[in-house]
Assembly symmetry: C2
Homo-oligomer: 344 residues x 2
């Protein structure tokens, strides 16, 4: 395999339905990937066991030992504490206050670093993907929910306690739809795949919604964002209006961030972004309409390029960068050493 | 005076109506201040001449020469280019593409650094004022307009081209009132002193607005934000409702930034913020209501403490920090040396 003596990293993308792990070299080139079901109903120990299985698979079948892996990174739904490696509250995993980095480090004997899944995906798109070269960039994932991560001054920006980037929960309409977070009118309640599907189901049973219902073969429960996109592409006006409204809210949210942060790039991924032009054209139009002209001119708005690998690759990048920083800072004031991710 | 041989800096706050300049020592302690009218109608050369007069006044009357001033900073309405020292477009000054740093540097023989007025005020509040010690902070000024500056990772964050911090122009209501920037529903069109006064004038001529009209002695043109605040404090329900609506929009905008950037402090200044509790209580309530609980817990929302000195002090801080950075970076790659203000 030619990886003997190489400097290797492993990234693990822990989601509610799947665990995706990647073995990469020091240049973050993918050597191998593996994917298994998460099955969170079996509890944290079983899930951690399956994460460790992916690590063993990746090393064994590529002819290296875990000892040759310099560090492991884990991308995980937040909120979490990157300093202690504890997952504070991950509803998709049914986890509360689960220590994740420590048992992984104990079992592998390697340093393990934990970070939010949208943050590590942002890092991957910035270092390896569509956002390469951007100094100030936002990565947005639009799927069942909406998440985001910020790269500011070429570094992952995580804020005061590591929780920055909650673009899905900025208020767009003060008295808008109730959001899963308890607030009203969040971007996620207006522009996520879940929001698009909900509005389409409401529309399907009203006059004008016949096309959507027909596309779902009369089964209202079969309506999801991808079906709405297909119906819109096939010319259904109601489906097109639902998409347009959702993407206009996304566009206003992006325009606001552009006005606030003067970004040079916005990278958008996630299942809903696969609809392509209808999303990107709408977002670009709203940014042109609502951001300052000089700020709108500075920013490129592009699709993510790493697809389903972003999480695992980003976790590996994160581990490599944390390790490099810790090695560089060795011997310095520990109160600074632990504050690794904010811009300085 | 005891400042002989001291390390001195001068900060100049250039506004549409006044030029406020401050002489400070190396610890940014105010030694002396001077204030003159701007009179922009006399053209850029005359304004620059008056800025130079303030510099001469400050040095002469404190017994030092301009040569003893290590550097000068200028805070100025934007957009501007901090690298070339050119003011690109300042409607209050009626300036377009005016070179400001170069003639000031030529006349004084000292290094001159230019930055946006809200940005230098943010720096002053972070280094010397209410935001002291905050690592990730937003400064907001609410007066006739709404401006803001960001300190991220303890550094002034200015974005890709130096124009970050346009909080006044984030869209709060997609089909809201027309804003001076040409967009609709900007925060500035809903929560600035100008917006408060406009709504009060509309209300004053309708049933229920009698109290506001009476407070203005029947003169609708006498209605400004401070009169609305007085009427509200005196118990007028219509005035109180106007303030509440405005500050709720401000609160939603702050909640959104808190969700996005996980700040540890928000410092609010400007003329309108002098109304005090009614503004701060409303903003705090909205942040508690609309930000994630863990993010709302992390952030302190406090009044600015430097008042009218923030601009001049901030310009002096900015000059001292740019000079220190340039001296430190001397000899390094010039493409990096010029990129001084973003987090790294």
């Amino acid at each position: 395999m030619g990886i003997e003596g190489a400097s290797l990293f492993i990234g693990v993308d822990l989601g509610g339905t799947k665990i995706a792990s990647a073995l990469v070299d020091a240049d973050m080139r993918m050597i191998d990937r593996v994917r298994v079901a998460t099955r969170p109903e079996e509890g944290p120990s079983a899930v951690i066991g399956r994460m460790l299985d992916t690590v063993q698979d990746l090393t064994l079948r590529n002819g290296c030992g875990v000892g040759e892996v310099r560090a492991l990174g884990i991308g995980c739904p937040g909120p979490l504490d990157p300093k202690t490696g504890i997952v504070l509250d991950a509803p998709n995993l049914m986890w509360k206050d689960v220590s994740l980095a420590a048992p992984m480090a104990e079992a592998t004997g390697r340093p393990v670093y934990l970070e939010n899944d949208a943050n590590v995906a942002a890092l991957a798109e910035n270092r390896l993907g569509a956002g390469r070269g951007a100094r100030n960039m936002m990565y947005i994932t639009v799927s069942t929910g909406i998440g985001s991560g910020l790269i500011l001054g070429s570094k992952l920006y995580v804020g005061a306690a590591g929780s920055a980037g909650e673009l899905g929960h900025v208020t767009m309409v003060a008295d808008g739809p109730l959001c899963g977070c308890g607030n009203r009118g969040c971007l996620e309640s207006l522009a996520s795949g879940t929001a698009i599907a909900r509005r389409a189901r409401e529309t399907a049973v009203r006059p004008g919604g016949e096309g959507i219902l027909k596309a779902a073969c009369g089964d209202i429960n079969a309506i999801d964002a991808s079906l709405v996109a297909s119906a819109a592409a096939a010319g259904d006006a109601a489906a097109a209006a639902i998409l347009r409204d959702a993407f206009e809210y996304l566009g206003i949210a992006v325009a606001n961030v552009v006005n606030l942060l003067n970004l040079d790039m916005v990278v958008i991924g996630g299942g809903v972004a696969r609809v392509g032009d209808v999303l990107f054209d709408t977002v670009r139009r709203l940014v042109k309409l609502r951001s300052f002209a000089c700020l709108a001119r500075d920013v490129l708005i592009v699709p993510a390029s790493l697809g389903a690998d972003a999480g695992a690759l980003g976790a590996a990048c994160y581990a490599a960068e944390r390790l490099a920083r810790e090695e560089r800072d060795a011997g310095c004031d520990p109160s600074i050493c632990h504050d690794l991710e904010g811009p300085e």
